[in-house]
């Protein structure tokens, strides 16, 4: 009950014409849900957000899986602990601080721009701030620890003798990776992807701060309804549509993923 009470209140709100707190008269309506379908903007933004989620998840796999592999199978003892701490650290830091520190790095004349120009012989202009790549970088940085942790757990559970058995049968390291290690670490990849994809699709902080004008996504529109427009019923309706879409995607993907795992 305690878990679902706030959420059920939101379900209730999503069918109202007005927020009951404001004292205005209200009635039940399906209009908030209809709004999603009447304006193509919402669908466009939802698709953009799904694409963002997919891209961020892919980058997290590309970066997080090798990192988890190195942590689980290459490093030992103290160095493993040290690297582990470095992976977890952004996870523990405040999200807003993390995003603004990226803003410092990515803006023109910022840390990345200055550093690259100091090293490179030619002049380049790095201004990633308020762009799609900036949003991706910020989100990947925030969510990659999930991928590292879930993959680390499954990779660590793979007995080293399986890798040795594969190689003793004539398989190269790459073949062992493809046929033994990746299939066996599929549960970690799937868990990591689900943990990342779902919140990224609804994310609003990174798109707003790092994306600027380009950072309008489904999540930021929902946030606007709650914070700026005070149209809670529409915000609630939009977020339940998102929840439904995400659940459908996970449901469709799960048999495929289960077979792979």
């Amino acid at each position: 009950m305690a878990i679902f009470l706030p959420l059920s209140a939101m379900v209730f709100f999503s069918f109202m014409t007005e927020l009951p707190l404001s004292g205005k008269p209200w009635a039940f309506t399906l209009g908030n849900y209809a709004a999603f379908f009447s304006q193509s903007l919402y669908l466009t933004l939802l698709l953009a957000s799904l694409r963002l989620g997919l891209e961020v998840t892919l980058w997290c796999v590309v970066i997080g899986y090798p990192a988890a592999y190195v942590l689980a199978k290459v490093l030992k003892g103290r160095s493993r602990e040290a690297i582990f701490l470095l992976v977890i650290l952004p996870f523990w830091s405040n999200g807003l601080v993390r995003i603004f520190s990226w803003a410092m790095v990515l803006r023109e004349g910022g840390i990345l721009d200055t550093a690259l120009n100091a090293v490179l012989p030619f002049k380049i202009n790095i201004d990633l701030m308020y762009s799609y790549p900036a949003v991706i970088i910020g989100l990947v940085h925030s969510y990659v620890p999930y991928m590292v942790l879930t993959c680390y757990l499954t990779l660590q559970a793979i007995d080293d003798s399986l890798i040795e058995a594969g190689r003793s049968l004539g398989a190269s390291r790459l073949q062992v990776l493809k046929r033994v290690i990746i299939p066996l670490s599929m549960p970690g990849l799937v868990a990591g992807a689900a943990l990342i994809f779902v919140p990224v699709v609804g994310s609003f902080m990174e798109p707003r701060i790092l994306g600027g004008r380009t950072g309008t996504f489904y999540g930021t529109v929902i946030e606007d309804q709650f914070v700026a427009v005070f149209n809670w019923p529409l915000g609630a309706a939009l977020s339940f549509i998102l929840l439904a879409v995400v659940l459908v995607i996970l449901a469709v993907a799960s048999p495929v993923l289960r077979r792979a795992a």
Binding site: A165, R167, L169, R179, L184
Partner: protein, 354 residues
């Protein structure tokens, strides 16, 4: 098929010398056991031959080809791991097919070869199962089929029977030996179980602290151990320590023990004599004097009944001697009884001290 030569191989991990100048010649088609306590270097040696680890110095050849810097996947070996290391994400047939499949063999060939290998280990009908649906003995057979299906030059077994219970282990010993004979593959088998080493192998190498203590056919090592360690690690032995008289020793109390086997040593040096418990005859009276036999008097302190035989523990001059007697249903000796022990010099091995 090919023989394996290990020459002057050393391997250290930090300050620890895991292998110290080990040389062994594994004959083509032979069944060789590497026997030793844990930490003796037997698994390290197997890993050097497999190619999971490279020696610091020395040479390893397989079929005459130098391989000490060749990675494992290029050595064409077959290996069976202690925990079987079957791929849990694949069926039994896919496990066995793995080696052929990474080599890019045609599907039809793979299917035939896999079936042949599974038939060889008597699991022809279980190809569709997953490893977790098999018993320990069946997993063992799958691991073996997977290792030999690629027709490796040498088969390496790392304590493959260690995880099985006693009865199954004996079955698998016979089975393993049968398969090895059938395909005639050079086999190197790591074990800490002396009985396994004795019953299965053509030759045994005993390792201790990274060094090869002794190697040879099982009977030779059993009957002619060259060190106290070899005598006690492979089988049971009663040891007597004293000064050599050239062809035997004199115990501190003056008793002479004649040795007809083992090293010839210069008189006066410290040495030991080893006698197997089953070689000693035990009786209540001295009987007719026998000029050649070794004879000691003692007192039975304990008898352990083990079905077909009994072990008597006999106290003699502060030392406990073991005597194993077949239970023929006659004379059973009581604890506390005075007895006479006799054994021939031929059953006594003279071993240099140290």
């Amino acid at each position: 098929m090919a023989g394996v030569q290990v020459s002057d191989v050393s391997r250290s991990f930090g300050a620890h010398k895991a292998l110290d100048d080990v040389s062994i010649d594994f004959a083509d088609g032979g069944f060789y056991a590497l026997l030793g306590p844990s930490g003796s270097g037997k698994t390290t040696l197997l890993r050097q031959i497999a190619g999971f680890d490279f020696p610091d110095s020395g040479r390893i050849t397989i079929g005459g080809e130098s391989v000490e810097r060749v990675p494992v996947e290029k050595r064409r070996i077959g290996m069976v791991f202690q925990n079987y290391a079957l791929f849990p994400n694949m069926s039994v047939a896919d496990n066995v097919a793995f080696g052929l499949s990474v080599r890019g063999e045609a599907r039809a060939i793979i299917a035939t070869e896999v079936q042949r290998a599974l038939d060889l280990v008597q699991l022809g009908k279980l190809g569709g199962r997953r490893p977790h649906q098999l018993s320990g003995g069946q997993r063992q057979r799958v691991a073996l089929a997977r290792a030999i299906v690629t027709k490796p030059r040498v088969l390496l077994l790392d304590e493959p029977l260690g995880a099985l219970d006693k009865a199954l282990r004996v079955d698998m010993q016979i089975e393993l030996k049968r398969i090895q004979r059938e395909i005639g593959i050079t086999t190197i088998f790591v074990t800490h179980d002396q009985e396994e080493a004795l019953t299965m192998s053509d030759r045994i190498g005993i390792l201790r602290d990274g060094r090869l203590v002794q190697e040879g056919p099982p009977e030779e090592i059993y009957n002619r151990p060259k060190s106290e360690f070899a005598a006690t690690f492979l089988g049971d032995a009663n040891l007597f320590r004293g000064d050599t008289t050239g062809d035997g020793i004199r115990l501190p109390d003056g008793t002479a023990i004649a040795a007809g086997a083992g090293a010839k040593l210069a008189a006066g040096a410290k040495a030991s004599c080893a006698v197997r418990p089953e070689r000693i005859r035990i009786a209540t009276d001295a009987g007719a004097p026998d000029g050649t036999a070794n004879m000691l008097k003692g007192q039975v302190s304990k008898r352990i009944f083990a079905g077909n035989n009994s072990t008597y523990f006999v106290e003699r001059g502060g030392q406990t001697l073991k005597v194993i007697v077949q239970n023929t249903g006659v004379d059973r000796l009581a604890e506390g009884q005075e007895v006479v022990l006799r054994w021939s010099p031929e059953s006594t091995v003279l071993i240099a001290a140290g």
